[in-house]
């Protein structure tokens, strides 16, 4: 795996925008350029490396489902930092997962740099099994980049075809459930990146023959029969036109929705089959970072796993570990530290990010090297680029990758997206 600098296309911004990719840059006062889509370089993989990533992705997806089963059998959900309501919804969804809980996608994040990095195996950092983004960038934007710059080369990316085929199966599942083959797609708005991902999901669902409609989460309505009590949980969610919401795709974490004002209504509606939600609630289990410790216990020394424990004292003194909040997202509240004799951080963390998570608890994972490359940033300073491989699972199948880069050790929501080929 090699990082190769390349002069960006002169009109890359216009080309990105022509694709509807309006979140290609995210300028801030500290970083007025705010590069997000970064085609000043690309990563070149070998076919063998692609095979390695594909095999690891499918094996880990299966292991995560087995680990979720283990969590349910042993009653471990209380250790995951979930509310009692979330636990009820997860149990119901898990029990019905093979019947009526259609699932579309998820994304593993891997530390991987080929044979020169660590032991040469992809290492699972986490599984974004519930609300992954970066999908349009991977499926469409890097695909069109490849078509223009290297039309003869290949890319690990059959995401688009996978999505259309999966939506078609979702349509069949809704039919089985006697629900209209129509979905509402929702996220918090305004939010350029989440809205873009949502539009792409809608596009692929429409291509599969479903009908769909986007609405801001804040516009979702709740209505109850006039002759019943006003506070009943037996009502229905409706959109702005008062059409019933019977199936919903959301880029909004379950744990947020369930702790919100309509949380109890949502819990009741999914458990009484009044509404079908994608991703289904059981995906909260593998999306929770506690799954890392469960996996390590079930599959110790698996080549694609890193040592991970709920108690950092399980690591020896002098170990460098990454603390990850159980429900954290986008790198928030992650810190990297070397442990003292007492199993506490010795001195200042090597790296850390702020955020609003952590009260729910942490899991601790051994630090592992990322793919690295010396380079220069947009301002011309010498930096080290660290790459994390996002590997997509569409309907249980490994369908391609998107690479995120950062000069820091922790990948976060502004880390750059860099295309790849092989």
């Amino acid at each position: 795996m090699k990082r190769i600098p390349l002069e960006p296309r002169a009109d890359w911004r216009a080309r990105a925008e022509a694709l509807g990719f309006d979140w290609h840059s995210a300028p801030t006062p500290e970083d007025p350029i705010g590069t997000y889509w970064d085609e000043s370089a690309y990563w070149e993989l070998t076919a063998a490396e692609v095979d390695q990533l594909e095999a690891a992705t499918e094996e880990l997806h299966g292991m995560c489902i087995a680990a979720a089963g283990h969590v349910m059998e042993r009653g471990l959900l209380p250790y995951f930092g979930f509310s009692p309501m979330a636990i009820d919804v997860i149990k119901d969804s898990w029990a019905r997962r093979d019947d009526d809980q259609p699932s579309v996608y998820g994304r593993f994040d891997f530390a991987f740099g080929g044979e020169d990095t660590g032991d040469g195996q992809p290492k699972m950092l986490e599984y974004n099994a519930e609300t992954p983004t970066g999908l349009y960038e991977a499926a469409v934007v890097q695909w069109t980049w490849l078509e223009e710059r290297f039309p003869g080369r290949d890319q690990f990316n059959s995401l688009h075809e996978g999505l259309v085929a999966t939506w078609s199966k979702v349509g069949d599942a809704l039919k089985q459930l006697n629900l209209p083959q129509a979905l509402h797609f929702t996220c918090m708005m305004p939010h350029a990146e989440d809205e873009g991902t949502l539009r792409y999901m809608l596009d692929t669902a429409l291509e599969a023959g479903l009908s769909g409609k986007i609405l801001p989460a804040a516009d979702i309505g709740w209505t109850t029969p006039v002759d019943g009590p006003e506070d009943t949980l037996d009502g229905q969610f409706v959109d702005a036109e008062e059409t019933a919401i019977t199936a919903m795709f959301k880029i909004l974490p379950w744990d947020w929705m369930l702790s919100d004002q309509f949380g109890a209504q949502l819990a009741r509606s999914v458990m009484t089959r009044r509404v079908s939600v994608i991703e289904p609630a059981w995906k909260m289990i593998p999306a929770n970072k506690a799954i890392l410790a469960v996996l390590w216990e079930m599959y110790p020394d698996h080549p694609n796993l890193l040592p991970a424990f709920m108690d950092r004292r399980a690591f020896g003194a002098g170990a460098t570990v990454v603390a990850k909040p159980l429900l954290g997202r986008e790198g928030a509240n992650i810190s990297i530290a070397t442990l003292s004799e007492e199993g506490k951080p010795a001195g200042a963390p090597l790296a850390s990010l702020g955020g609003a998570y952590g009260a729910e608890g942490y899991v601790y994972q051994a630090l592992t090297p990322l793919a690295e490359s010396a380079g220069v940033d947009a301002a011309g300073n010498a930096v080290t680029h660290h790459a994390v491989i996002g590997s997509w699972v569409i309907d249980g199948v490994s369908r391609g990758i998107g690479i995120r880069e950062d000069v820091g050790l922790i990948t976060h929501n502004r880390s750059r997206f860099v295309p790849h080929l092989f």
Binding site: G20, Y136, N157, S158, Q261, R274
Partner: protein, 169 residues
Amino acid sequence: MRKSRYVSVLLAGASLALSSCAGTGDENTTVYGDADTCAQDWDAQSCTTAYRAAKEEHVKTAPKFTTKEECEAAGWAACEVAPQTPTTAQAGGGGMFMPMMMGYMMGRMMGGGGMMGQPVYGNRNGYMFAAGGRNVGQVAPGTTSLAGNKVAMRAPSRGGFAGRMGGGS
């Protein structure tokens, strides 16, 4: 090749295609099980007229199936034999089935005095649909008849999913 043969790039002008009847503008969409129940809220004559109109509309527009099993497999709460009409008779007749009319919608049209009567069907999940697939209310799953009953829905409350921004990862 490991890459997609094609991608579609429709994002710039994402089109919305949900079959909704946006802005039908009904002031009131109460569903009544029969004319007597309707007469509790409206004058009896209008209720009977609207009921007859709904029944006629029902025979004309309800989805038709060759067998009762097919009708039930489509998810309807209850199915019945479709009456013989010149059209169904021509189509090979005798064995046509359609969902039972669960009740009818009655209300004053926005901006005018006209009354309406529209058939309403229930599916097994308890959703009630009017012609065109518009959802008009909800009853207990498995309900097949609204006789002696009415269902009206409160104006929706909104903003119950607005607590936090973002959410992708």
